[in-house]
């Protein structure tokens, strides 16, 4: 398959692949088993210039486009979704600053993020605000030159490990959807602590914690964009990163296919390799076809974003939806193709299957993606009438 990638994109792919093979594959099972954060791998990725791939050169990044970044995510995801979640969530946390931050904020935070010296997290979700972000209860009250933050964020990726947190809090409840604002909170600020680290089904090397704000005072300058723009910041951030979750799906699906075909070729039953059975071949064919279709949707969404398209919500949502449903199906089938061996921890596909599940849930569940796509279709039809 030729994906019409540029020479630089192929370079990024090879580099990410080398990190995956040399630095991630040898340790992924251990990181998974012991819930261990991939600190060394993040350092290796920083040294390889991958942390600042999508950050403009004037802020110390590589100034590459969305597709370049997604290609890196895909390669890392082939090896381990726990690591790729850590990597992708770093960008999720960075987008509010990148898309809406002032020049001072960009100058202050982006160079360290690009160099991989500081990790980032994005805090929107709360106990009572999952799919329905309007349910958030964390508040930020302006007192003099400071905002006082109170409340608890839940299930925040990179929690405890990140140095920079971009969060959404209510600044004026009476204004409804215009009542939330986005802020930067730095680790170590008094009144800002972390809850317990979650014990998860998959992506176990990624860190997921609560963020607890108890009269946490942050300087007024930490407000991102204007007061009241919190939900717009959050929605644009999720729009920009959503298809990246699709590239995670493409990566883990391809990784599972590569593993299971390698095994099945050598597995002899009834006197022949199980890959000689048409039933198995047809499963493999469906798995690869769906994965290629998912890849097309993801690359297409990325190219749309890179071309400067204004409205790419639907394309991003379709890429996320299809690629992550595909990831779940393909990783499950990869276990099936390997039979009992696929179910065992000696092989990586059982982990891939556990890991894949989260992709259908975070950054907007796949039910919510369908809602986004459906509403957009109805809106368009109404406009055309």
């Amino acid at each position: 398959m030729d994906y019409l990638l540029t020479e630089e994109q192929l370079m990024i792919r090879d580099l990410a692949r080398q990190i995956a093979v040399e630095k991630i594959v040898p340790v992924r099972a251990e990181l998974d088993e012991h819930n261990k954060f991939p600190t060394d791998i993040m350092k290796a990725m920083a040294q390889a210039d991958l942390m600042g791939l999508y950050i403009p050169e004037e802020y110390g990044g590589m100034g590459r486009g969305t597709l370049d970044f997604y290609i890196a995510i895909e390669e890392i995801s082939k090896a381990c979704l726990g690591v790729s979640t850590t990597y992708a969530a770093n960008a999720l946390g960075t987008y509010p600053i990148l898309l809406f931050g002032s020049d001072e904020q960009k100058k202050k935070y982006l160079p360290d993020i690009a160099a991989g010296k500081k990790l980032v997290a994005f805090g929107l979700t709360e106990a009572n605000a999952g799919s329905d972000a309007s349910g958030i209860q964390t508040t930020a009250k302006l007192e003099g030159n400071e905002y006082v933050v109170n409340g608890t964020k839940q299930w925040i990726t990179n929690g405890g490990e990140a140095d920079i947190y971009t969060i959404i809090a209510i600044t004026d409840k009476s204004r409804g959807p215009r009542g939330a604002s986005a802020f930067v909170v730095e680790k170590g600020t008094p009144g800002f602590t972390f809850g317990k680290k979650e014990n998860k089904m998959g992506i176990r090397s990624s860190s997921t914690t609560e963020l607890i704000f108890n009269n946490c005072r942050i300087p007024k300058e930490n407000l991102i964009a204007k007061q009241g723009m919190g939900f717009i910041v959050a929605m644009k951030t999720l729009d920009s990163s959503r298809a990246g979750v699709g590239s995670q799906g493409v990566g883990v699906a391809q990784g599972a296919i590569d593993e299971c075909i390698k095994f099945a070729k050598g597995r002899v039953q009834f006197g022949q390799p199980v890959t000689s059975f048409q039933a198995v071949q047809h499963m493999l064919a469906d798995m690869q076809t769906m994965t290629e279709a998912a890849r097309s949707l993801v690359y297409n969404a990325a190219r749309m974003i890179d071309s400067g398209a204004k409205d790419f919500s639907r394309a991003s949502a379709m890429a996320k939806l299809f690629a992550t449903d595909t990831a779940m199906k393909v990783t499950t089938d990869a276990v099936q193709v390997m039979g009992g061996s696929g179910y065992m921890k000696e092989y990586p596909v059982e982990k891939m299957m556990r890991d894949a599940k989260i992709l259908q849930i975070y950054e907007g569940t796949n039910q919510i993606q369908r809602t986004v796509i459906g509403l957009d279709m109805v809106k368009e039809a109404t406009r055309q009438k």
């Binding site: 370079m11 290796a44 040294q47 390889a48 210039d49 991958l50």
Partner: protein
């Protein structure tokens, strides 16, 4: 601190095949890589530069394709590269290779440290490091597993021994060879790869480094390969079978018979 790293391009295989007629390695169809031990040398040089500043230069002698190995060194972060490539260098043994490299090093000029790998995975002699140091007239220490400190014009290193290690202090400049225990090589950086892509490697000829043609290549090589052959398997082995207890009893019996216990 200015460092020169000696980098050899080798076939990517641990099972080299040999042309029976010419007694040379068959390289056709085998992809080339940087000798794995040299990757540790490059990494250590980069770490020293990060700590002490200065410049890292990678030096190789080889056919024009060896430029690829140098480009890889650049992608890892090496500042400068030198390729010694000339028909006059062809057919060199370790002695003639060391001579050419030492002349290349003299031409590069000012340096504090030369780092080489413990040995090359194709030739396997481990001779080029010490010979080059000797020709340059600088101290040489083999099998370095750690550089403890660099201060003024001295360096303290750990030399790996069969049991334990030696702590050695040396004056600079000197030449060391490194073992795999010394570090974990990094992967390239994107900036490095982009720099490597656009890099034009120009070769230095024998004349460029003021080398005496009589000491180069086949002519300058005192070693002659008479014959290459796989060593005959050592005979006289006996395989025991049965339960562990039976096998232990059989060994004990044999040892007693030969009055060894």
């Amino acid at each position: 601190m200015n460092i020169i790293v000696l980098v050899k391009q080798v076939p990517d295989t641990s099972e080299v095949k040999i042309n029976r007629e010419t007694n040379t390695l068959i390289r056709d169809g085998v992809p080339s890589i940087i000798n794995p031990f040299d990757m540790f040398a490059i990494e250590e040089a980069l770490r020293l530069r990060e700590k002490h500043g200065g410049k890292v230069t990678a030096l190789t002698m080889g056919p024009p394709q060896a430029a690829e190995a140098l480009k890889e060194a650049v992608s890892l972060g090496v500042d400068d590269v030198v390729l010694l490539s000339d028909r006059a260098f062809a057919g060199a043994d370790t002695w003639a290779t060391s001579y050419a490299l030492s002349m290349g090093i003299r031409k590069i000029g000012q340096y504090d440290l030369v780092i080489a790998g413990k040995q090359a995975i194709d030739g396997d002699t481990a001779q080029v490091g010490p010979e080059t140091a000797d020709m340059l007239g600088i101290p040489f220490i083999a099998y370095i597993r750690k550089i403890e400190k660099v201060e003024n014009d001295t360096m303290v290193v750990e030399r790996m021994m069969d049991e334990g290690y030696d702590v050695v202090e040396t004056s600079l400049p000197c030449l060391i060879t490194v073992v795999k225990e010394i570090n974990q090589p990094r992967v390239p950086s994107l900036k490095g790869k982009m720099k490597a892509k656009s890099l034009k490697v120009t070769a230095w000829s024998a004349k460029d480094v003021n080398a005496d043609e009589n000491k180069l290549g086949l002519k300058g090589s005192p070693t002659q390969v008479v014959r290459i052959f796989p060593p005959a398997p050592r005979g006289g082995r006996e395989m025991l079978s049965g339960s562990v207890a039976d096998q232990v009893a059989a060994v004990a019996k044999k040892l007693k018979e030969q009055s060894l216990i």
